[in-house]
């Protein structure tokens, strides 16, 4: 039983990271119908930024964290402006190729700058453990889970209670109508990219104590986060997080209880099963338009 709870918690923690990356996929997809395959690499870059600020420049953890998030938000806007906006309106494949290209570019450039070694960020949560009876939970895992909960709550409030957040949902539902309302759609799209890069950075920094930061970490995790987004029903924000957590938990359970090798396959088996039974994903929305 203890093993089970511990596996569950570490699965949820890992899943939260998948969920945060998947959230970035979903945000950008909803706003622009672009699937940003460089999402995982934005997370990797955010991790390296944080490593530079905290590990190399010796800033306080929280200051370095905030600086990395801010820098990556700007970088997200820049990436949208330079890579995606010029080819908006061209076939989907061109845009997807451009984001895949952006991912390659980020991986090799960060390899050139920071090298190909693994890096670790020292966090206030790296060492401590929480003991409940004989149950031992590592602080780093709990920090990932609580940070994800806080981030999701903030995003929920932003999207549902503020005018700008509502305008973002409006633009993603009907971009032309948003133009008719006087919503500056291009700026809204920029902000969406900034938010998704910032969320990815949070994922990267939170992940740093669990997995190390290296230039390919984004590719590996991006490949796990993408099914998380699909599982949740691409386009649903809560779905992305739930999908991520499910994949994380399945992975960690399969790694513990099943034979070697099942760990990486099990999430995909579940994904295929869910898509067979519910092709729109767990939280997929069907657009009903009355005429």
């Amino acid at each position: 039983m203890l093993d089970f709870v511990q596996q569950l918690v570490s699965g949820i923690a890992l899943g939260c990271v998948y969920g945060l990356i998947a959230l970035g996929f979903v945000l950008v997809y909803k706003a622009t119908e672009v699937v940003n395959f460089a999402q995982g690499d934005l997370m990797m870059l955010g991790g390296f930024f944080a490593f530079t600020f905290i590990g190399m420049m010796g800033l306080n953890y929280w200051v370095g964290f905030a600086a990395a998030v801010a820098a990556m938000a700007l970088f997200g806007m820049l990436a949208e402006r330079v890579v995606v906006r010029p080819i908006l309106g061209y076939p989907q494949f061109s845009i997807i190729m451009a984001t895949i290209g952006l991912g390659y570019f980020l991986r090799s450039v960060s390899g050139m700058i920071w090298g190909t070694d693994d890096f670790k960020i020292d966090t206030p949560f790296s060492q401590g453990v929480l003991r409940i009876g004989s149950l031992v939970l590592a602080h780093d895992k709990l920090s990932v889970i609580s940070a994800t909960v806080i981030l999701c709550a903030l995003l929920y409030l932003f999207f549902n209670k503020t005018t700008l957040g509502t305008a973002m949902r409006a633009s993603s539902e009907n971009m032309l109508a948003a133009y008719y309302m006087g919503i500056p759609v291009k700026r809204v799209v920029s902000i969406v990219w900034a938010i998704s890069a910032a969320v990815a950075t949070c994922a990267g920094v939170l992940l740093a104590p669990i997995t190390f930061i290296h230039s390919n970490v984004g590719l590996v995790l991006g490949l796990k986060a993408f099914p998380a987004a699909v599982l949740g029903g691409f386009g649903s924000i809560p779905g992305a997080v739930v999908g991520g957590v499910l994949i994380g938990v399945i992975e960690s359970m399969a790694g513990f209880y099943l034979a070697e090798g099942w760990k990486d396959v099990a999430p995909y088996i579940v994904l295929l099963a869910v898509l067979l039974l519910k092709p729109e994903g767990l939280f997929g929305l069907h657009l009903r338009k009355k005429v």
């Binding site: 509502t166 409006a170 539902e173 009907n174 109508a177 133009y179 008719y180 657009l287 009355k290």
Partner: protein
């Protein structure tokens, strides 16, 4: 009419040409909307009515010509900037935000505004015009009926407190009773708030009854313009737009005589 009586012209199109890709959809149109009046643009399917509205509101850029709104040139301006000048567009097919609630849809209509008090007042005014929207305030707009969505689309545009309202086919797909209801409201908005309206309609009868002045558009060109009273009594309009049938070969002959008919 002397100059003191003629109301100020708030929208003026001069020789506008617009393209849909390689296709020339508008072939040199000039029209004017005076302040406080309803002007209608009539024409069959594919005549270019919607393109005219899209060109005015900045969704399409004209290839040639000038558009002046309240004395300012607005051709090639970004659509969201034009809305901020006080020009709102109710698009064809309503285009509400389906997953946003009725209230949120209306809030989006007031997006350019910062005066919370005025926005709240205008929201009450919209509910006054369309009490049915108030009953459905928290429902997603996608669950409303077609007529309610049309009301929401109009109400949403009114939330911007525009000087000029562009209305594209408000009667599309609605029952005759709803059409009557919506056009009563359009007249009320015009009379009570003095709002200028440019109305595009296929239903020529209701459009001519509502508007003060009319333009007739054929394949991208204006072929006729006059007050609605006179248009309603014109033989061509009666025959081609109001469905009055004429016996004998006279109609045939007039078809051939008409120079602008291409």
């Amino acid at each position: 009419m002397d100059a003191a009586v003629t109301p100020e012209i708030i929208l003026k199109l001069s020789n506008i040409e617009s393209y849909y890709g390689p296709i020339m959809a508008i072939r040199g149109i000039s029209l004017e909307v005076p302040r406080g009046r309803i002007v209608t643009l009539l024409g069959a399917n594919g005549a270019g009515k919607t393109t005219v509205l899209k060109t005015i509101s900045g969704i399409l850029d004209p290839q040639k010509g000038a558009i002046e709104f309240m004395g300012k040139p607005i051709q090639r301006m970004e659509a969201d900037k034009i809305v901020r000048l006080g020009l709102s567009h109710v698009p064809e097919g309503r285009e509400v935000f389906p997953f946003l609630s009725v209230r949120e849809n209306l809030t989006m209509g007031a997006y350019p505004r910062r005066d919370r008090v005025g926005v709240a007042e205008d929201m009450e005014r919209v509910y006054g015009y369309f009490p049915r929207l108030k009953e459905r305030i928290n429902q997603p707009a996608g669950q409303l009926s077609g007529g309610e969505q049309q009301m929401l689309a109009i109400g949403r545009a009114l939330m911007n407190r525009p000087t000029l309202l562009l209305l594209d086919e408000p009667s599309l797909g609605l029952s005759p009773i709803l059409v009557k209801e919506i056009f009563t409201i359009i007249r009320r908005v015009n009379e009570e708030q003095g709002m200028s309206i440019l109305l595009v309609e296929q239903n020529a009868k209701v459009a001519l009854e509502t508007a003060h002045y009319g333009y007739v558009l054929e394949i991208g060109r204006i072929v006729m313009n006059d007050t609605c009273d006179r248009l309603m009594h014109s033989k061509d309009i009666q025959e081609f737009y109001l469905g009055a049938k004429e016996q004998g070969a006279r109609g045939e002959r007039r078809w051939k005589k008409k120079k602008t008919w291409r």
